[in-house]
Assembly symmetry: C2
Homo-oligomer: 358 residues x 2
């Protein structure tokens, strides 16, 4: 089987590696930047660096378009034009409706979106296992040719991913909720704080751990995010409308001064979060272990080693340095109460205070 | 000098320990729960467990009220009633205006708020160094007796903290911005996602790292937070109003479809965050190092050890497990570009991909 990858960055390169290793496929890659395709060739992400889209897709049964969202419509059109009946063309963009709007009547195009790799970029970070266990959304339409869809889905499964069909509309709404909206809120929070605090430079307060966590994704990768927002603008704007309504309710709750209602609202939020995060975890209910520690170099290592040696896996971690940066607390999340208790005992053996957050 | 601590949890117990160790003070403690004061006595947080407020404050020059926010007005009044001219009474509550509203004409009361200890609770976690380097806000008024304020400020400085006078109003607005508001946004985000996704249980998506970070503080410690919100409700509500306005602008930006404006908005947010976080850091501009790693037990240890052995201190850290929980990325933040490059080299020597986020 020949596979073509158009755009050989992190995702495209990883698709190439997975296809070569797991499907023993012949992989041709094209990238508008020849230095990138040379690098991909050197890393073994592709078996052949093509100089044009038609050359890359010639004879391919499967074509992956792995370009930035804004470049996809042109690239998909070019790939479809350059191929015939036996070739299925797909993409890996973070939003799906705009593309589907253009190609929904094309039986050979199936939109796709693997939930992997958001945290790095570039072919240098590509690897064959990137998609292992990852959800990979596919957006077939009524016009999609069954046999081509099946071929695509099988290849994705062979990469180790979990393909799932979804309407483009539902996909974009889901992503707006769990990914795009958090970025918007982080941006807004940070902008508001910066503006308010600039006037108070003499007492710019130490921003605490809650502010750090809540705003960590603010302003990540502007060009890519501008594209994502732009191609999902109505769904993200609708999410924002929903948040505005909830914020108005929260402001009312605060101004009404009903303490019990406030506490119930706050408690509900905590339960909702556990429910959502656990859905993403593999080993059961996540438990938080809080550990008070000196913030010296090596302390994270000491803790993680103790847990690692006992085969306790850390699912999530947050550091809360104290103001002097010489002491602080570390929260680690592990799967299940029993694991949390083992972890607490191990940490206490090292002489640190540890408590499981109830 | 005799110091009284009313309420001997994490903060009260740590005040007692700091006063005994650093001021060589005689410390009497009172807690409404006798088991707690017994524990505090056993841990050396106090030198004497009193059975009532009057007994504890008898002869004390300095009285710290370290009860939950809602209990403070009654406790401060009782402490003032039971003491005379030579005694200064202070508190450690997270909000200041309500209390000042009641006691602003009292020359012997000075409101206080140490920014420390938010991440744990209970006298078992108390320690004498909790306040080392921490900002400790004080809210003197025009009526405050100078000599008493000076005594309080000196004691706090001796605990290792950095006392700073601030108007109660300014304090509560600052806290609303950098602490209370992030909690509100986390709650709202998680509630909205939970409601929307409950209807889609068959495809509950893996919530990604952005969602995790942004919502980490959602629903933390409901009774304490209900009190904080209730006693700072108008400032928090005003912050919410500000966020609503910004969200309306963001929604408009999205619906207008001006890609350049979106990108500029996103970029501004990233710059604002760096500015705010750096103000809290000691060693210069924070740089983010992204590392791709297998998610096996011990991997955090391996990285942290390599950095720790080279005396690179980790200021902040976030784990981004991939969907299979067997691989993923870790971001560590270190102070300064040079340190980041050293860290990157160390990590690469271990055979991992590492890149400094530009």
């Amino acid at each position: 089987m020949k596979i073509a990858v158009l755009g050989v960055g992190l995702i495209g390169g990883s698709i190439g590696m997975a296809a070569r290793r797991r499907l023993d496929a012949e992989v041709a890659g094209y990238d508008p930047d020849p230095a990138v395709s040379d690098k991909a060739l050197e890393l073994g992400a592709i078996g052949e660096a093509s100089v044009s889209v038609p050359e890359a897709v010639d004879g391919a049964e499967l074509v992956f378009c792995a370009a930035p969202v804004a470049a996809l419509p042109g690239l998909v059109a070019e790939a479809l034009d350059a191929t015939g009946e036996g070739t299925v063309v797909t993409d890996v963009g973070s939003t799906k409706r705009l593309l589907l709007g253009e190609f929904s009547s094309q039986p050979r195009f199936v939109g796709g979106h693997p939930l992997a790799g958001a945290e790095t970029a570039g072919v240098a970070n590509a690897h064959a296992e990137l998609f292992e266990g990852a959800r990979w959304y596919l957006t077939p339409t009524a016009k999609t040719e069954g046999i081509l869809y099946d071929r695509l889905q099988r290849a994705i499964g062979d990469f180790g991913a979990r393909p799932q069909a979804i309407e483009a509309e539902d996909h974009d709404r889901l992503m707006a909720t769990v990914s795009h909206l958090p970025h918007v809120l982080a941006n807004v929070l940070v902008s508001q704080a910066a503006e308010e605090l600039r006037g108070e430079s003499e007492r710019l307060p130490e921003v605490g751990p809650s502010f750090r966590d809540t705003t960590r994704v603010a302003g990540a990768n502007p060009p890519i995010w501008a594209d994502i927002f732009a191609t999902n603008s109505d769904a993200v704007a609708a999410e924002i409308d929903g948040v505005i309504e909830r914020l108005q309710e929260a402001a009312k709750l605060l101004r009404d001064g009903d303490n019990d209602a406030l506490e119930a609202w706050h408690q509900d939020a905590g339960e909702s979060r556990r429910e959502l995060i656990e859905a993403a975890s593999t080993g059961g209910e996540l438990r938080e272990l809080r550990i008070r520690v000196p913030n010296r170099p090596g302390i994270v290592a000491e803790l993680a080693l103790a847990l690692g040696n006992a085969a306790v896996n850390i699912e999530d971690m947050a550091l809360y340095p104290a103001a002097d940066m010489r002491s602080g607390a570390i929260s680690v999340w592990v799967a299940g109460r029993e694991e949390a208790e083992r972890a607490a005992a191990l940490v206490r053996d090292l002489g640190h205070d540890a408590s499981i957050v109830e």
